[in-house]
Symmetry: C2
Amino acid sequence: MTATPAKDALLTIREMCDAYDVTPRTLRFYEAKELLFPLRRGTARFFTYRDRARLKLILRGKRFGFSLEDIRQLLEMYDRDPGQQEAQLARTIELAQDRLAQMERQRAELDEAIAELKEQMDWGASALATLRRPAG
Amino acid sequence: MTATPAKDALLTIREMCDAYDVTPRTLRFYEAKELLFPLRRGTARFFTYRDRARLKLILRGKRFGFSLEDIRQLLEMYDRDPGQQEAQLARTIELAQDRLAQMERQRAELDEAIAELKEQMDWGASALATLRRPAG
DNA sequence: CGTCATGTTTACCTTAACGTAAAGCAACGC
DNA sequence: GCGTTGCTTTACGTTAAGGTAAACATGACG
């Protein structure tokens, strides 16, 4: 059982990587980009509950196709002034709507391309059949 | 009427750009990558019927999400040994099938992401409604 | 001859999200 | 004291498909 770590647990970089299936480079990169803020005991990193929560949001955001910079801004908004919940939530929903629209446009284009490609393939396939059955 | 140029017409780079909605940089780039082979009278370029046909295929390939390198290989195949039609067509269809499979996977992922995002948005929207109607 | 409009070459710049390599520290066991 | 792990920093590399800038050429026109 890969039990969820206790809330107050501090994870090393490796534990973090194993838990969320990312590389150390990725975690350091996210820290450099100010998406994560692990404790630094000396030079070593320890990832807190907060980092874990943020990482989950980051990964979800990436699945939605948000850039790391977009994600950073949202996270920053949420923990800079915790008391503007409404405005922040509204802003988040707005961004999500834009993104959703983008994704739907993209899907439409993909569908078109798929349809066109299929058509081309039928074309080619029948030409191929003709070539294989000469003088049909 | 932007009439299709005669088969033996030679187009300047600008005419070519206007006809296919690409930039000069793009055409020079494609030439450098050996996708196009305009005549070179001195230093000037003149695009032939063959270049126009190739460019159409290039643009179509791009719509399908093929890389320029993939496209180059297909074009090269077709005009290196014009007599292996069957094998070439078969190869092309094979590549197209791979690409189609990729696109369909991608579409599935996109659909998933869209669904998940919508779900999140409902979530957020109801939270937002609650925030706006305090102590509901 | 001057000067526009087009063309040309060369070559560095852009972007995102990490990968990868080099070199060094820190704690542990022995 | 030393070797082995595991971690760290620093910093350059990767990728595609062009964009952009500088400096130069060429031909037509007046």
